[in-house]
């Protein structure tokens, strides 16, 4: 679900083939910017593969889906699609033949994109060099391979329709809403799923367990969401992968490197305004474990010996380098997977032109047992004003087997 970072984006700039018509150029440039917002390249590019030529294996709870080739190759890509075909896929999740796409392609979000923007993206995709790459599009096991079953799913969970601005809100808020609810498809990760793999609309952006990560709550909630961040913090984060106290790693790192760091500041600001102003929602904070709790005692010892050299005794971190743990909502999400897996597998921060260093958390899975990781993670979740449910060795054990072979 994320781009292998070895893809170099330079060839895109060099992709020629645009018609000499100046209007067409404007559309193509606009379409490229919109494709960046949508981060199409992340899913539609295989590891080490040609950009947009598909073939990435997406792990879903229902099985593996191979992403399609969306270069204009007529044999193996979408070269024979008209603009209407493309709009139908984006707005309705249907192919030109009428068969159904799976919502691993987030058409429930892309349905919000205006027709004009869809056409611009189409124009941009037409300028890519056609890449011959045949992708097996039928990899789900029975019964999930029956695409017709999407009829029922769509009836229950899909509400098609372009974005409608809220006249009571500012233009900036509406722009942010359009980006987040549409091309940004943030909710695809940050909203909890129901058992059918659909986003729970009533819990939009309240956080989600996905692919052994915890995508955090990004409402304005003080305990679990963005409540402690200003709009400028959010802009800074999306633009550089950092705030004064936090560094992006994991899937968000790729989103920042491939998508948001390349977006104009005004759009980032609009997203930030939207996220801050649309409201707060989330379960409240529990009472923190007391420092005398034996799990906290063990965790404190491990933290002092292993973590404090970088994250500091008071959990304060180091600007641009090591995230602050005190008051960091990533540490206190209900689902503790992100924190656990970063201890086991390590993690690397985003590298951007502004801050190329990309400091990495070392992998410590070899050094700490399940019980020790549970203790130190519990300690982090309940110190310096943090409060969150403790973590058990069983939880760590279960997650370890799933992340120890992770490729990023």
């Amino acid at each position: 679900m994320r781009l292998r970072h070895l893809i170099v984006l330079l060839p895109l700039l060099a992709a020629g083939g645009a018609a000499a018509d100046p209007d067409s150029y404007i559309d193509v440039a606009r379409g490229k910017a919109l494709a960046t917002v949508g981060d199409c390249i992340a899913c539609h590019t295989a590891k080490g593969g040609t950009p947009f030529a598909g073939g990435l294996a997406l792990q879903t709870p229902f099985g593996t889906i191979m992403t399609p080739n969306i270069t204009p190759d007529t044999a193996t890509g979408i070269g024979s699609w008209t603009v209407d075909d493309f709009a139908r896929a984006m707005h309705e999740g249907r192919r030109p033949t009428g068969s159904y796409l799976y919502p691993a392609f987030p058409y429930p979000y892309y349905t919000r994109v205006t027709r004009a923007d869809v056409e611009a993206i189409y124009a941009y995709l037409r300028t890519l060099p056609p890449a011959n790459n045949a992708v097996n599009r039928n990899t789900l096991p029975f019964p999930f391979n029956i695409r017709m079953s999407m009829i029922g799913w769509n009836m229950l969970f899909f509400k098609p329709g372009e974005f409608k601005a809220d006249p009571k809100r500012s233009a900036e808020f509406n722009r942010g809403a359009y980006l987040v609810e549409g091309l940004g498809h943030c909710g695809a990760c940050h909203t909890p799923f129901n058992s059918f793999g659909a986003s729970k609309d009533d819990k939009f952006l309240q956080g989600n367990q996905i692919d052994n990560w915890a995508a955090p709550n990004i409402t304005n909630d003080l305990h679990a969401g963005l409540g402690k961040w200003s709009a400028d913090d959010i802009v800074q984060y999306l633009k550089t992968g950092q705030t004064r106290t936090s560094l992006a790693s994991g899937p968000m790192r790729d989103v920042i490197e491939n998508s948001t760091s390349k977006m104009p500041d005004t759009d980032l600001k609009a997203i930030a305004v939207y996220l801050k102003e649309r409201g707060a929602a989330g379960a409240g904070a529990p009472a923190p474990l007391p420092a005398s709790d034996p799990r906290m005692q063990v965790g404190q010892a491990i933290f002092a010996d292993t973590c404090s050299a970088c994250h500091a005794r008071d959990g304060g971190g180091v600007e641009h380098m090591f995230p602050r743990l005190a008051g960091n909502v990533i540490a206190t999400q209900d689902y503790p997977a992100s924190l656990i897996r970063i201890v086991i597998a390590g993690g690397r921060a985003a590298s951007t032109n502004a801050f190329p260093t990309a400091p990495a958390m070392p992998s410590l899975g070899y050094r700490l047992s399940d019980a020790q990781i549970a203790a130190v993670v519990t300690f982090v979740r309940n110190s310096w004003g943090n409060a969150a449910a403790p973590v058990t060795a069983e939880t760590v054990h279960d997650l370890r087997s799933r992340v120890v072979h992770a490729s990023d």
Partner: protein, 264 residues
Amino acid sequence: MADAGDPWPRKKPLHPRAARPPAHDGVTRRSLLATAALLIATSGATARTVIGVLPWRPNEAYPVTPVVPGGYLFFTASESAVVDAFVDRLIPTDELGPGAKDAGVTTFIDRQLTGPYGGHDWLYMQGPFSSNPLPTQGLQSPLTPRQQYRQGIAALEAYCNATFSKGFTQLSGAEQDKLITGMEKGEVQFQNFSSRMLFNAIHGNTMEGFFADPVYGGNRDMAGWKLVGFPGVRYDFRDVMDKPNQPYTLPPVGMQGRPAWGER
């Protein structure tokens, strides 16, 4: 996979290797093989060509494999008894705390000898070897540590039997000390082996084994570190810098942690 003859160590961690020892009471070679703390040949995020992105992968680190004590992979039973007795004189157990033997130094040396150190794998071992190097030219012997121990201990035992009619382990403590002192000064003549070379090997490895991280099998319970007050691998002493000339009271910690970390 790289081997001893490879001049460019590879990026992948090697499987642990060992010499071919006889089996020992109850502990099989196979179970110990997996636990010999051998130095992984090299490390480094895997990369041959780097373009565009810093190479990094999750789950990538190159720790040493912890030694699990019990039995010996290299030493015979009688060799290990000699080494035990020898190191026990070098750093005795006394009122200041455990000495080298109780700290597991013999196990440390045994496991070290089965790794690249034991064969001088990383050193320049091409000939010709000079028989009269200058004192300033350092190590010039073709003997590897494995050979030094095997031949040296045999020579020591032969000397003891010839001189005292008993082996080294049966000498009194005072006799052992006198002999070791003579070896240190190069005043004791073994047959076909330099007594000083054996002393230097055992003495040097004893210092290593007594003070190295416990992951290597010695410095058991951080006895060596506790003797001097070395806090180990905590890696953050800003608090010490902020309060100069004060005793340091936190217990030492090794790469595998310390008791306060709880059970593994």
